[in-house]
Symmetry: C2
Subunit: 204 residues, 2 copies
Amino acid sequence: MSNAVKDQGLIFVVSAPSGTGKSTICRRLLAACPDLEFSVSHTSRPPRPGEADGRDYCFISRADFEERIALGEFVEWVENYGNLYGTSVKAIDAVLARGKDLLLDIEPRGARAIKERYPDAVFVFILPPSRDELLKRLEKRGHESAKVIQERFAQAERELREVLWYDYAVFNEDLEAAVLQTIAVYRAEKCKVSRLRGAIDLFF
Amino acid sequence: MSNAVKDQGLIFVVSAPSGTGKSTICRRLLAACPDLEFSVSHTSRPPRPGEADGRDYCFISRADFEERIALGEFVEWVENYGNLYGTSVKAIDAVLARGKDLLLDIEPRGARAIKERYPDAVFVFILPPSRDELLKRLEKRGHESAKVIQERFAQAERELREVLWYDYAVFNEDLEAAVLQTIAVYRAEKCKVSRLRGAIDLFF
């Protein structure tokens, strides 16, 4: 296929409240789909044990982060629990320019900003089986205080309402089923006629 | 889930010119998706060896078929090579009323009629890898005369243009990949927020 008719890469946005299994689902999605690359966000928070710079996040100082905001480098950014998180336009465009698809693991406010800038992006919301189950999962994580858990649950409840403007919802009742559904959404979007115009033009 | 909020069944339409592997793909799709049922068309043509009434088609006489046309029983019907083929509204509605999804294996003219009556239906077009490959496949089938093959190829070329108004296109270059893609489209459509309003309302 010549570059002239190459269909453009896909931006695949996955959102979910904490404790919904989003990270696991995203990891499995990436493993199954070689054309899909993970978008590494920038953050001003310090790395947690086991996190690597450039893989989990690009860890930068708060001063550096604020300078990049002023330069318009982030399509979206947010302050969460005192830390800044943002998605770099340059990073997105670099992946798409290589003809790859991009996975963004991002919360609903950021997802809205992505939708404004990239209207063809695909938006998937991972839901827990129920609100009770979500609270149980947050409590089980164990490394947070009760106050932090309550704050996260309250934020999760607000975020859940955002599912209504997403394209797809995946209920994570059974992890294997949720992984299969998320992979199916990605594969199906790659078959949309509106995304295959280059390949279809070549056919005729 | 109560009946009041039960999300409606999905109509999944698959079209493809002869020789594109559509029948195999549909069979594999049905085997993988227990909520999806095959819609059995009516036809006035006599059964071929191995075909069973009520499974492959509902075989009826031409007179009976024409009477049903007059009664408005078919959402679409077509005369092909002297035989009538049609899709019964009653048959569609009976499956959806049972909460099941329906697979329609139908050519583009019929698919258009389905789209007018059921705008939420999903339309998938199976494409051969290339036009040359399509002609080769038609020739390999062996049980048709050269004239019939040429007619089918000419019709296939006309039909291929119809892909542009479909929702999804699946290139059948590799059968396994094409089967996976078609299953993915069905699974993804079941995750559309617009189709899950009942389940999502229940969640809140």
